[in-house]
Symmetry: C2
Subunit: 259 residues, 2 copies
């Protein structure tokens, strides 16, 4: 049974850990600098846990980092190092070579999804992007990805940066636009739920079409009459007005290029 | 049987028309300034059609405008007017009183959804927002909305403006972000479909939570390291870089207020 030390107990770690257990991997320890997070996940999954870097076990076959980009190197510098083990991280933007000066076997296992602790995600439908410093390591990483998911794709660190950027637009930024629309409605005490069918249909449409081909709204024809009135409704929230203006211009710019 | 003249043969008109027919309304004519659109929809639904404003029939009980905001008044000025008939429009931003100086009975029937000609939409799940200049007209409009949909809500012109603005963010602008993410991926020849599970989960999460509570990504903690690197990836598309910067700042601004 392959043994894993899991570095991190946040959103990504708490989704990957039970899936790894179910698929025959033995997580022998969870490390988190936040004792409470380590304890919560450790107790839930009946796994040893620690918040002390020096207490990280040395005999694991895989060290899986599911922490923020910034946290990888500080932990790597202080933890006990193991020349035989495979070191993996799960980040979108971090190059694989972050590991290079510290360890011998390393790679990346990046699940492209938004994870929250209290939401179930069907990992089998989540695309996993993998990369390794040696062919034999790629075999091991692919095996993990293919056990967890139906979609496993090899991708370089450079391409992964673009993938992560695209995900920031399609997920993090989209969510912020949902937030703005909720704020606009709440001013008039209209419940956000009236937008639910629109949000679902907008997402669904993008899955079945080229988004540029199904673009609608006042910005497409740059209807200055509506655009100016809507900007006026946003005059008390200049940060939202700026977003409105920038996106409208960008939509119109694309539209003009198409014509 | 209530008789309707439909003004417009675009996305909204082509979704409403068959639903009205199925629910016992008799569309006696379709007008569109584009002959081809009028003909296409008219022939499909076996309804008389015209592209001549003066040929619009005078004896209908309802004149339903499903055209762009700008097009309402020019048609209204030139068409034969009917003091007994009810005049409705389907727009989000246009006040009801656009009709005031021309006709006696009027109101609004606004379906909050994104309509494309080639996509089926389940109208029964689409919220319809209604408004009328007289209580007896409201009864008629509500009856139409309740036949077409399970969700019928009375809303003033002023509140409807905000609703439409919210919809622009949650639909039109969200779609543009999907477009940007697709463009970013296409530079690296990565298929847009890898983002599908993320797009679906992001939408689903917003339906089940307060979007501000589930905001994730580098902008939340304003991770300047990732933000600067990602801005650099966008250096050849300054309009996307500006959108990236504005939205990141706005996400962080909200986050700081929460803390």
């Amino acid at each position: 049974m392959t043994t894993i030390v899991l570095i991190g107990a946040g959103n990504v770690a708490s989704h990957l850990a039970p899936a790894l257990q179910k698929n025959g991997y033995k997580i022998i320890q969870i490390y988190s600098r936040t004792k409470k997070s380590a304890q919560l996940l450790g107790e839930k999954l009946k796994i040893d846990y620690t918040e002390k870097i020096q207490a990280i076990k040395q005999q694991a076959q895989i060290y899986l980092f599911a922490v923020s980009d910034k946290a990888i190197e500080p932990v790597l510098q202080k933890m006990p190092q193991n020349k035989q083990a495979l070191y993996l991280h799960t980040g979108g933007s971090m190059p694989m070579n972050i590991f290079k000066q510290y360890v011998t076997h390393f790679g990346v296992l990046y699940p492209l999804q938004t994870f929250s602790k209290n939401r179930k995600v069907n990992l089998t439908q989540v695309p996993f992007f993998v990369e390794a410093n040696k062919p034999e390591n790629l075999v091991v990483i692919k095996k993990i990805a293919e056990k967890l998911s139906n979609i496993c794709i090899e991708l370089s660190s450079d391409d992964r940066k673009y993938l992560h950027l695209a995900a920031v637009f399609a997920c993090n930024f989209v969510n912020h636009l949902y937030h703005i629309s909720q704020q606009v409605l709440s001013e008039k005490k209209i419940d956000f739920s009236v937008l639910h069918p629109l949000i679902q249909e907008t997402a669904q449409k993008a899955l079945e079409n080229n988004p540029a081909d199904v673009q609608t709204g006042p910005a497409v024809r740059y209807d200055t009459n509506i655009i100016e009135k809507q900007l006026d409704l946003l005059k008390n929230t200049p940060q939202y007005a700026q977003i409105y203006e920038q996106i409208s211009k960008s939509i119109h710019f694309i539209q003009k290029k198409k014509e």
